[in-house]
Symmetry: D2
Subunit: 309 residues, 4 copies
């Protein structure tokens, strides 16, 4: 299968990190996944990213991760670039997932650092150079220090990116000074994709030269984030600020309903259930919202849908 990724050209746009729709802890909601993907494609997103943090990949079994790869590839039918997250604590298991991704026609893989033992920067560079050498697909690095306990130094990103198979970087640290430092370290590499995780700062990142966002909110409202990206990419500040206010309303309502660190994940899945897209079952150790949290998400959605997205 031909890849969507062009040589020497960074991937651009909104690539939603898909939730993994579940009927129970071990059963994929395949129909929900179909509705989700069709909606994302209709909404104009620029790629699909599965088995990331929003996808609860670490919480589900390997069998389910494999099924998620297969079903997504089947439903996508090559319409959009498909990125598969292979983050694991074991390089062998990462490679196992990558091989399946390649067989299923994925365009690239994405990897956050091993998240049990914390490697040093030297070990991180060696790990990724070894991984890149053995991968059957291009690789995006994924910085997620709140979950992995380590952050790629800008110099480490630069060192790893010397490998020709390493084609981009996603930052979910929320630290914009850090992101600027990575952008600066990679400024002589116009082919290298710099993608922002948190949707709250995707607009400003794109204004300053980033290539796009891997934004969880796009599961719910794909058009909104596509328009936000477009407004930023063409420097339409007025429209960007209007859309940013809606993005922040989502962030300050749907993502903050619960008391715990998992509120964002629960909020997105709850909203998708309310929108009729997929089941809101959460894999252990998390549990879906009950009424009255659900009612608060419902009210937030009603308010948001009054806006021009």
């Amino acid at each position: 299968m031909m890849t969507h990724l062009l040589p020497n050209t960074p991937l651009r746009g909104i690539i939603p990190p898909l939730v993994t729709p579940l009927l129970d802890n071990d059963t994929l909601d395949v129909e929900g996944l179909e509705r989700l993907i069709e909606r994302l494609i209709a909404g104009g997103v620029h790629g699909l990213f599965i088995l990331g943090t929003t996808g609860e990949a670490q919480s589900i079994s390997y069998q389910l991760r494999r099924q998620m790869i297969e079903e997504t590839a089947r439903i996508n039918r090559g319409r959009l670039p498909l990125l598969v997250c292979i983050s694991d604590t074991s390089i062998t298991e990462s490679l196992n997932l990558a091989r399946l991704a390649e067989q299923q026609g994925a365009d690239a893989v994405v990897s956050a650092p091993p998240y049990y033992y914390a490697p040093s920067q030297v070990e991180l560079a060696e790990f990724y150079l070894d991984l890149a050498e053995r991968l059957p697909l291009p690789l995006f690095l994924y910085n997620m220090p709140s979950h992995t306990k380590v952050s790629f130094d800008a110099a480490t990103v630069r060192a790893i990116a010397r490998h020709p198979r390493v084609i981009g970087f996603k930052d979910s640290s929320a630290n914009a000074v850090y992101f600027q430092s990575v952008m600066t370290a990679m400024s002589d590499r116009p082919d290298f994709a710099l993608l922002m995780g948190p949707e709250e700062i995707t607009g400003e990142a794109v204004l300053m030269g980033a290539h796009g966002g891997i934004n969880g909110g796009a599961n719910m409202f794909p058009q909104l984030y596509v328009h936000l990206y477009e407004a930023a990419a063409c420097g339409n500040l007025e429209e960007l600020r209007r859309l940013q206010r809606i993005v922040m309303r989502i962030s300050s309502t749907i993502y903050t309903v619960g008391r715990f660190g998992s509120s964002y994940l629960k909020g997105v899945k709850c909203a998708l259930s309310l929108l009729g897209i997929c089941n809101d079952h959460m894999a252990a150790p998390f549990y879906k919202f009950k009424e009255p949290e659900r009612e608060r998400v419902r009210q937030a959605i009603i308010d948001i849908l009054k806006e021009k997205l």
Copy 2:
């Protein structure tokens, strides 16, 4: 003395956090301070901010802090708004500094949370409402979690800002998602100033609606940061990106010469010494750069001065 701060109007622009020029641990470099302030005023900055983190306030004695307030007020002669940081672990000592600031004609005070005991959000709100009530001057809140161990929740900022004496907020967390959440929480308060600490993200913050930056680099190159602010404030993206590249070159050279967390402070003071502005003595527990670090800063300055700032 009349204040520069207009009612119901946020303070805008570049307000450099002045270094405290020292001859030794207990002696102010008064001539250096004069040169520094004249250069800042000539460079077009919009205010002066003293005794902040860049000013090593916590490392110097109270007598020296008082002298710094008096000398700065004397040199400034009311030409620019003067903000005095009164962060302390003791509310009584904060009030002592604030009274002197008021006597010397300062326009406002700035305060980061008590930094030995970590208060809860409830205690933080009570502390600041009590402080605001007793202050003789308007107050800016200062978020600096890397040094104080606590961060103002967006809701806490909103609660404290109900007090009429609380007129603005400076964020040095580097967490742009957090800053967006505070901007959103304060979106119905157009009179409330939202100022960015790290210069690396002042441009994007202003593009998204912030009012200015309290940028340490402006000690060295005031015009550069004023131009960066102006480019962002009027939406000139091309010029902003050009200036941002220079700001990032400063950040990735002058601020990263040493091995330790204090590299930024040492770099700024070393550069000011090389530029002939003031002495580079550092108060304990820090020590100034030796030659070869000094040589590296010198090279960085030479490169930066080739650019149009």
Copy 3:
């Protein structure tokens, strides 16, 4: 197979967390494992604990983890209680490992919290009550906040321990105040085993009422740790202090040779290689010591072997 664990009686003594001897990233050093286990049994240890942090479980593939369970069970031949660590981010994969452990005749399983997403205390309790209900073997909780990012509150331990299948707790936090608080919370449960991870404080923990230690150093010098435990258990303070000095010499030499957080793991494996027990290959993302680190470990071993262990 009959279990070694007696009803209403806590497991006591030294239960070494076995290294996983490797020939390369995906190949078990079976002969090394045999030598290791025979040496541990000859050294008088009170149980075997596999696939823990010292066992690099998260770094190796599931196939290798399964082989490690099978080979250890085969070599052990039921001579000692066998504890299998099933820590995983996915409850389904934890249960898969537990079922194999049960089939192979293990006596109990051990589990640290999911280590990618950080659960709240409520979610932690629900997760473990669900896990315990579905497990085929008794369960020890494993507190390892440096790696999992979450710590069991003492009240959470108490809540989970109400399930009859939850029979003990291992603490590797190094926070002795915390361990005392858990001991206090469980003081009406004399059947519940309280085991210390770090060997540096196993002696004092046992003096204060803990039941034993899961000490990595016992891979190298099983007798030393057994004697330390016995001295503490019978209140022989003089002998305990003598042995403690040797334990601290190991800790301050073999475990601190390298620069990184993984020095302990590398030191233990390097020492085992020098002692002729097993290969010192480390699974990614870690790498074994090179000469000259190896030489420093060699010197440390020579010094330690001069002592009466």
Copy 4:
């Protein structure tokens, strides 16, 4: 005045970190302080430690800190060794406090690292060697990483302790592995005092060779902690475990009544008020317990007083 500290002999025993009794934020409760000190001396404690973390030193003004030194010295009349904590962010202010302490007849000073800017280990060593050189009294180092953000490496303690004026070390990290590593690093210095902060682990620390405890609970029940120390120092394990259970009951009741990190401080002051010793006013940013927290502390005290302390 002759000092209580003997040459080449470590300070031993229970040295309570006194609360600072307050009538309001700026007024010392002098009568309360008198009752407190008399009770401590009657209870058999081995020294007095003022202006530490339990003493809310950072929250009160310098004038009040000076008054606290003067009043304590006056009340003590040289009966017990007096240690004055001079922790500050400014070395000049630390020296100011130390000079007053010396004039008032204190025996030694205690210092935790500067707590706004975080020094590196090299800077920490230079800071303390400079401080020691200029101090008029012997110095105890104070490790308190939860409040100062930095921890003394064991090697740094050893390096600083080469200065003849540095005579001991207090650890409040709660990390017993760390404390063992410092004890090991100082094992050739029998003259150097190793003191434990948290009372929950003072017993086991003394069993393993520490010289005493700086235990906040001794403000309330001095005899209990003196007996705990004596039981540990003479190896009476049975009595130690009995007393340890009472210490843990205090820790798990009086110190955990509130929701916030300051529960310990509030609990101790509330208990002292209920015991009729001193006022329970807390300096900003903290606030004293209200009924019903006060009622819970009352019940805890009643239970504890049923025991033989």
